[in-house]
């Protein structure tokens, strides 16, 4: 009974570990810039205001960046998951040469230092007109999201009882019916989980976004935050930046709340057997 309570207390400590920085972000986003200027550094705001949210949503730099972030991350995720789905099916079900090469290449690229590519990409993109465009970001995101997608999904696909497809066909289902009614429902959770993890990856990127964009045409939120100056040059940008930070954190929190179990399964199945 005593140890039981001990573990619960340890659990509360972990909750605080995650929650305190988030609460601090929320608190700052509700402080007014003048409160910062007055040197009030308490954890909680003395009076809460929504002005910072108004500031960021009135700022076209931020709203454009939000559209760019969503567009680029969603497209890169969808394309990456579809391409990886083919490869993962092949890895999980077929015998073919270069299978090991594909897997080790995915591993090598996951470890690749992205910063080593920005110089050449910067130069190449400028000469072929991809600099500061959506495709200019989507292409490198795809490359670095693919290894993650391939591992996670092939790990899920290996666990699917593929014999059930044949069993359904023996029972009189057409190949298409067998695929749609048996295989798709079994594979869907793995594909979906992979999509979430891939989306997090693309949503998080900063290096490519600041290196390969120069205007709000394609710049995503993380890069826009680094350049954000606040409502005016005379005000501290801190509170507005935190309001923007809260906005980009909301999708993450929602996905975590809805799909906690799947994300954990996806993270661990891709990396460690079991």
């Amino acid at each position: 009974m005593k140890t039981h309570r001990g573990w619960t207390i340890a659990g509360v400590v972990i909750l605080l570990y995650s929650a305190i920085p988030l609460l601090w972000m929320l608190s700052l986003s509700f402080k007014s810039p003048s409160e910062i200027a007055a040197g009030k550094k308490g954890f909680l705001p003395t009076s809460a205001t929504f002005d910072n949210y108004r500031t960021v949503f009135d700022n076209s730099l931020f709203t454009r960046a939000l559209v760019n972030s969503i567009g680029v991350a969603v497209i890169a995720t969808l394309v990456s998951v579809v391409i990886a789905m083919f490869a993962s099916y092949a890895i999980a079900r077929l015998e073919f040469p270069y299978k090991k090469l594909l897997l080790s290449m995915a591993l090598a690229i996951a470890m690749f230092p992205q910063a080593a590519l920005i110089g050449p990409l910067f130069n190449m993109w400028r000469s072929i007109g991809l600099y500061d465009t959506w495709p200019g970001l989507i292409i490198p995101y795809l490359t670095f999201a693919l290894p993650l997608s391939i591992w996670t999904m092939s790990a899920f696909f290996r666990q699917i009882p593929w014999e059930m497809e044949q069993a359904a066909q023996i029972d009189g289902a057409t190949p298409w019916q067998a695929f749609r009614k048996v295989i798709v429902p079994l594979a869907a959770p793995g594909v979906f989980t992979t999509a979430i993890l891939t989306f997090f990856f693309c949503w998080n990127d900063f290096l490519f976004s600041i290196s390969l964009t120069s205007t709000d045409r394609a710049r995503t939120v993380p890069a826009a935050l680094a350049f954000f100056q606040g409502a005016s040059n005379f005000e501290s940008p801190i509170t507005a930046i935190m309001a923007a930070a809260v906005v980009v954190t909301i999708p993450v929190v929602i996905m975590v709340l809805l799909f906690q179990r799947r994300i954990v399964a996806g993270l661990t199945s891709g990396a460690v057997k079991g």
Binding site: H4, W7, T8, A10, G11, L15, S18, P21, M25, L28, I36, K41, G42, F43, A84, F86, A90, I91, L94, E95, F96, P97, Y98, K100, L102, L107, I109, M111, F112, P113, Q114, A115, A116, L117, G119, P120, L121, T143, W151, A155, F200, F206, L207, S211, P222, L225, A226, S236, M242, A245, V252, V256, Q260, I263, V264, L267, T268, V272, K273, G274
Partner: protein
């Protein structure tokens, strides 16, 4: 799949000569389909990494700055010798090494503690797991800003909490690096702890019980049973996090902008290539960064015998 076909062959005694071409025909079709299905992944991964890397290798042999592109000149390996004899490279190298070593070590210990709590806790297990995923999913730049403002003299609560007055965390090299490490550790420990938890649940419970009966203390059980049985998971977490921390860029960029010698190697590559458009020198930094990663991966795989088939692959 394949076992099914061989089974049917052995059932029919005089089939082998006739069915052998059929099997290889089937195998050939399977191979072709496998290649077709994986080719888009091959192409996308190679096109955006191998080609630019080769291009970087080529550019690194030139003196080439976009501010004066016509002055491009072949200089051989002199960019490399300039970098490797420059104190900036070695300062950035030290910063990167310090951040990597300390962050990864702290993450492993802290992550193991968290994994153990998630393994043992009865009440609110899924709540704890949900909470831990938020730092994992949060945008690194956001984490960097949150911690920067928590420590900043003009806005932060940290100084007030610990009674440090107006201590300027970002005014000195090692205190800045400390804050960068706090952000890095906060965001990535949850990932480590989930990897370790996956290893922890595979440690056979009866071994623990047997050791308990034999009178082993909790400490002995940890070192003699739990940790050795989790070796694969620990090594994988260590490898991933080391390579990841070695590439650290977002946190120093947002938190210090490289001030007070807090620049890292990825940051140096960014600054040379993008800010200074000094592509010759920048490419040489890129190539050196790439080589440093290769060395680390090599040390892990050959030196520490990290079993990468555990990561995914040929099982």
């Amino acid at each position: 799949m394949t076992t099914v076909t061989t089974d049917t062959i052995t059932v029919i005694p005089d089939a082998p000569p006739a069915s052998r071409p059929a099997v290889s025909d089937r195998a050939r079709r399977e191979r072709r389909l496998g290649l077709w299905l994986s080719s888009p992944s091959f192409v996308v991964m190679v096109l955006v990494t191998a080609y630019p890397l080769g291009y970087a290798l080529f550019l690194s042999l030139f003196s080439y700055n976009l501010t004066d592109p016509s002055a491009r000149e072949f200089v051989g390996l002199s960019n490399y010798s300039t970098i490797l004899t420059d104190s900036v490279w070695w300062k950035d190298f030290t910063t990167t090494l310090a951040i990597t070593a300390v962050s990864v070590a702290v993450e492993l210990v802290l992550g193991f503690g968290m994994a153990f709590v998630m393994y043992r806790i009865l009440r609110g297990r899924s709540l704890v797991r949900t909470a831990i995923l938020v730092p994992y999913g949060i945008v690194t730049v956001v984490s960097a800003f949150v911690w920067r403002y928590a420590f900043a003299t003009e806005s932060g609560f940290v100084n007030g909490l610990f009674g440090l007055g107006d201590y300027s965390w970002f005014g000195h090299r090692w205190s800045s690096i400390f804050v960068i490490m706090v952000s890095e550790i906060w965001k990535t420990t949850p990932f480590v702890s989930l990897l370790l938890l996956a290893g922890l649940v595979q440690v056979p419970e009866d071994l623990q019980e047997a050791a308990k009966v034999d009178g082993a203390s909790a400490w002995q059980r940890l070192w003699k049973i739990t940790l050795p049985n989790m070796k694969a998971a620990i090594m994988v977490a260590l490898l991933f996090r080391t390579l990841d921390a070695w590439r650290i860029f977002d946190n120093p960029f947002v938190m210090t902008g490289g001030a007070n010698d807090t620049e890292t190697l990825s940051f140096l590559a960014y600054r040379q290539n993008v800010s200074l458009v000094n592509l010759g020198m920048g490419s040489a930094v890129s190539v050196l960064l790439f080589l440093s990663i290769v060395v680390i991966a090599f040390v892990f795989v050959k030196g520490f015998k990290t079993d990468l088939s555990q990561v995914r692959g040929d099982n």
